[in-house]
């Protein structure tokens, strides 16, 4: 599997690996994928009083592209409003990382993770 340099960079030096306090009302957690499919992403966002994502952390079980997609997403998310975050599409992640067609599903999963984290945050804060 030939990976792009950007995938390898994120894979070798993943950004924002870790865990936020999932019981905090400021934190939204998305857990998507399934081990049987070969990919699981856990994405967490921490939102400030202005509704801006001030921190994002991830942990991913999956191939290099899945790890890179989630690492990239945590960087993109910081500083964005929830609506801006919700508008991120998998295609932009795939383009940025130059994912091959067989790895597009990793970017789809990353988009799903963002949406799941936002949904979790909004449910906690009754903003649906």
């Amino acid at each position: 599997m030939a990976y792009s340099e950007k995938v390898i960079e994120h894979y070798e030096n993943p950004k924002n690996v870790g865990t936020l306090d999932k019981s905090s009302s400021r934190v939204g957690t998305g857990l998507v994928g399934a081990p049987a499919c070969g990919d699981v992403m856990k994405l967490q966002i921490q939102v400030n009083d202005q509704g801006i994502i001030e921190d994002a952390k991830f942990k991913t079980y999956g191939c290099g592209s899945a790890i890179a997609s989630s690492s990239l997403v945590t960087e993109i998310l910081k500083g964005k409003t929830l609506d801006e975050a919700a508008s991120i599409r998998n295609q932009s992640i795939a383009d940025e990382l130059a994912l091959p067609p067989v790895k597009i599903h990793c970017s789809v999963l990353a988009e799903d993770a963002i949406k799941a984290a936002i949904t979790d945050y909004r449910q906690k804060n009754q903003q649906l």
């Binding site: 399934a34 070969g38 942990k59 191939c63 790890i67």
Partner: protein
Amino acid sequence: MSTNIQLPIYLDNSATTKIDPRVLEHMLPYLSELYGNPASRSHSFGWAVDKAVDEAREMVANAVNCDTKEIIWTSGATESNNLAIKGAAFFYQDRGKHIITLKTEHKAVLDTMRELERVGFEVTYLSPQENGLLDLNHLTTAIRKDTILISIMHVNNEIGVIQDIPAIGNICREKNIIFHVDGAQAIGKVDINLNESNVDLMSFSAHKAYGPKGIGALYVRRKPRVRLISQIHGGGHERGFRSGTLPTHQIVGMGMAFKIAKEELPMETIRIKKLQNKLIDNLKNMEEVYFNGDLISRVPHNLNVSFNYVEGESLIMAIKDIAVSSGSACTSASLEPSYVLRAIGRNDELAHSSIRITIGRFNTEEEIDYTVKLLQKKVNHLRELSPLWEMYKEGIDVANYKWNTEHTERDIILHS
């Protein structure tokens, strides 16, 4: 870590092996001045290479203890498997149309069986036990009155387990069923004695034993005589079993490779067993590590290990300093977990997080030390990244967790 090691380290010797320098040296004259066709009976160019082909046939026959007339040259184990299985099935189809094999066979056997099903044969695919070994009672029960052929591999390419070939041979002989063995992974790893076993057909390959690619052989028993319908027609080479001009350089290479394999088997077994033990002893102390396949009835060259909560492809990427495979090399282009690991009851997660390390003649103890350290370091790193490891550490039952798999349907659409 040691610095006098050349990276990456080749630990994929069940995919293929490096040609032994002694083999290469033996081959070279047949790629230059000794260019005759062994089928040319009318001049010395032909006679010289015909003699070399005879000598190579003798080396192969000696390595597996059979008669030279029982060795048929082919292009490799895939062709040998095709010739043996289709050839026997078509010849003996008047006796019956039932064939038995194992779910963990190589694709060269399984896909050939599928083709035979397409043309009207009935195939029973037996499940091995959890240790990868065939339960002989299970085999006996599957035998029917119309069973004409049983095909069971000697050494599994993915998990390295050794099937009880003598015992299966006895069952087949007693029931008058043709017995084919895929021996591609067996040569140089286990002692093969065809004269003293009830094997009727056995497939071999040169490149799994430090010989060249593109050459193999099929053993066809003469007493009692086993008949085949040939699959490649032409000039009637190889007593009509397999037509086509003999690739002399590859044949002499295979002969030398098999001669060396036989001579060095006892020493090599001891040396490689020590390396395998080193891997096992170091890896078994890690948490959530599973060895796949029986550890006793197994060749020392193979270790197949699953690191739970670590995904296989990212592991392969993390350990790019060692060349290992994730499942069989033949299927690593697909995203499917290994069918062999599934057949022995490993769940998808463990199948996905497995690697196959296959040690060969040219691996050193320093390389194994390096491999152990690398695996320990990288598995720990990937587990730090793994949400599944975090859940496991929190005491969550990951295997029975209710995953929301809505996205997987989209995956399927994207992949199809």
